[in-house]
């Protein structure tokens, strides 16, 4: 590490670890279809070079990544592991705040934390017991001076040059975000005013409480999952459960708003508000008028924010903040290969929820996750979709629902979120 970088670290900037290799630029010999962002070439879902470039440009680049909630690391020494793309990080609290460091010893590159959560006094690598304080600074190297005058580190070995790689950290009303980038703007600027305001609605500063986790490995490219949550069009057609119980319907008022040049996305619906004079059920072949639930609490919506809205926010590249009725969840997308993505769900409520509210959140959570009455449709469908893409890299998908533009729309019958994303994606990836 040179002097300039050390100064950056003291100023709270991301600090590349000593041995963190700078990836060589990846050149892609591919041509995007001439029609532009209304077409998506299928090679982007399966090409390993594209995947490597995405990890570097997006997850390792000028982005903020969700790594946890402050209530998950409540005490000095509490830590949790998180993943940012293919990089594992440790989120740990010390007396001054919350730090995020790479889970990678500066010595030989091995993992330091082997557990998802726990309490530590310092961060010590099990291999040669190099130990780091909770900020990631190297504080101890066993046998540094050798044994009986033999061996040991060279005399010019300087602990300060062998710290863990430190990430920039942002905290937003109980949530923790990290970045490998020195140049990405602050978190709220990165999100933009609309997304920040909508995130504040669900995280207004009330203390949060984790209700639990679900994790699943979906055998599809991460972008298929990413697009799926930007696509309200399918929501009214594939998801019988939504349609049947009036939670999400094509005749609800629905805002589909790509923000920050298509990077992020805010969608929100007012399920109680219907556009008049429409009977879209006739068009929804999966509508089941005969279905009744015995326990309606699973779908009964307590209007906690007084606006009747349900809201889903995508904070590029890997985070979703969701308020679906009374389910509050952070979803984290962790790409594992071009063909696999892990999805980590953190369900939470407010620390001052009463027993009734907690029960309602737990019951409604049946809609989401690997067994979710709604989410299950997506994980099943995306696997089938990805399987089909493998054999047709030169084919392309067609995304003109709602026109060819990228501006926000007030309708569900639109693919504007996907178009706006690919306009952004092409610029960032140089495609």
């Amino acid at each position: 590490m040179n002097t300039a970088t050390a100064e950056h670290a003291e100023a709270g900037h991301a600090c590349p670890g000593t041995h963190a290799p700078e990836a060589a630029p990846i050149t892609i010999q591919r041509r995007w279809p001439e029609e532009g962002h209304t077409r998506v070439p299928l090679w982007i879902y399966t090409d390993p070079a594209i995947f490597r470039k995405e990890l570097s440009v997006f997850f390792g680049g000028d982005t903020w990544n969700y790594v946890g909630l402050e209530c998950e690391v409540p005490e000095v020494g509490s830590f949790k592991r998180a993943w940012i793309g293919d990089k594992q990080v440790v989120v740990v609290r010390d007396a001054d705040g919350i730090n995020v460091v790479e889970n990678r010893c500066a010595h030989r590159g091995g993992a330091i934390c082997w557990k998802n959560k726990g309490e530590v006094k310092d961060l010590t690598c099990p291999y040669h017991q190099w130990s780091y304080n909770l900020k990631g600074d190297l504080i101890g190297v066993p046998l540094k001076r050798g044994v009986h005058g033999e061996g040991g580190m060279p005399r010019d070995f300087d602990n300060k040059q062998h710290g863990l790689r430190k990430l920039r950290v942002a905290r937003f009303n109980g949530s923790i975000w990290a970045s490998f980038s020195d140049t990405v703007p602050d978190f709220e600027t990165y999100c933009g005013p609309e997304l920040t305001q909508r995130l504040r609605r669900m995280m207004p500063g009330r203390p949060l409480r984790v209700l639990g986790y679900s994790r699943q490995l979906i055998p599809c490219n991460w972008k298929l999952y990413f697009e799926n949550t930007r696509d309200p069009y399918h929501g009214t057609l594939l998801h019988t459960f939504f349609i049947t119980f009036g939670l999400y319907r094509a005749d609800s008022r629905h805002h589909t708003a790509p923000v920050a040049e298509g990077r992020h996305m805010a969608t929100y619906a007012v399920p109680g508000e219907r556009k008049e004079g429409l009977d879209v059920k006739q068009e929804l072949t999966r509508f089941r008028g005969d279905l009744q639930l015995q326990d309606m609490e699973m779908v009964r919506f307590v209007d906690e924010y007084g606006d009747g809205q349900m809201s889903a926010l995508q904070i590029f590249p890997g985070a979703f903040a969701q308020q679906h009725a009374n389910i509050l969840a952070m979803r984290s997308i962790v790409p594992k290969s071009p063909h696999e993505v892990e999805l980590d769900w953190t369900y939470f409520g407010y620390a001052d929820d009463d027993a009734d509210m907690q029960r309602i959140r737990l019951k409604q959570a049946n809609l989401l996750g690997p067994s979710g009455f709604v989410s299950m449709d997506d994980s099943e469908l995306l696997k089938q979709m990805h399987n089909q893409m493998v054999g047709y890299p030169e084919a392309e998908s067609f995304i003109e629902m709602g026109g060819r533009g990228v501006e926000p729309q007030v309708t569900m019958a639109t693919e504007v979120g996907i178009r706006a994303f690919y306009a952004f994606y092409r610029r960032e990836m140089g495609l």
Binding site: G212, Q216, L217, M298, L362, N366, G369, S371, L381
Partner: protein, 160 residues
């Protein structure tokens, strides 16, 4: 800790497990709720949640009504790839017997076979049960299916 079990109890629990597994593996989803009491709790959750005392369940049914809703919604409201599940249930460990109520834990392995791939391990874990003797025999008052696997491969479509 129990030194001697009431005669026939182990057989009775094993019979319940066998019938339950057979019903679920046959995907007879309408018959699945019959194993539960009216005031039941059915929860499928990760070891990660269970050990941390977190209440969330990947499947969370409080009361027989929700078990029936899960059955109906699985049958009528979801889209999924055809699959087979096969339960392998281990030896019962009875932890307590109190009147009509039995607490027991039983290892369980569920292997899933989908239409075009080799089978994979869906669940490896244990049933943490509270069983109650009723006029119809032993029924499940509480079943926490606690899975050791870190994550679910794609979807958990059917109850386990």
């Amino acid at each position: 800790m129990i030194t001697t079990l009431p005669p026939g109890l182990r057989d009775e629990i094993e019979q319940l497990h066998d019938d339950y597994a057979e019903t679920v593996d046959r995907q007879d989803i309408e018959a699945w709720p019959q194993y539960f009491t009216e005031d039941c709790l059915y929860l499928v959750t990760s070891r990660e949640n269970h050990d941390a005392g977190l209440p969330h369940g990947t499947i969370y049914c409080e009361g027989l009504a929700m078990v029936c809703d899960r059955a109906a919604a699985t049958r009528d409201c979801t889209v999924f790839e055809p699959r087979y599940l096969r339960h392998f249930i281990g030896r019962v460990k009875v932890d307590a017997v109190d009147g009509d109520t039995v607490r027991a834990r039983t290892p369980v392995l569920v292997v899933e076979s989908v239409s075009d791939q080799a089978p994979h391990l869906l669940i490896v874990g244990a049933y943490h049960d509270v069983l109650r003797r009723t006029a119809d025999g032993l029924r499940i008052k509480e079943r926490r299916v606690v899975y050791d696997n870190f994550r679910i491969v794609n979807s958990l479509v059917f109850p386990v």
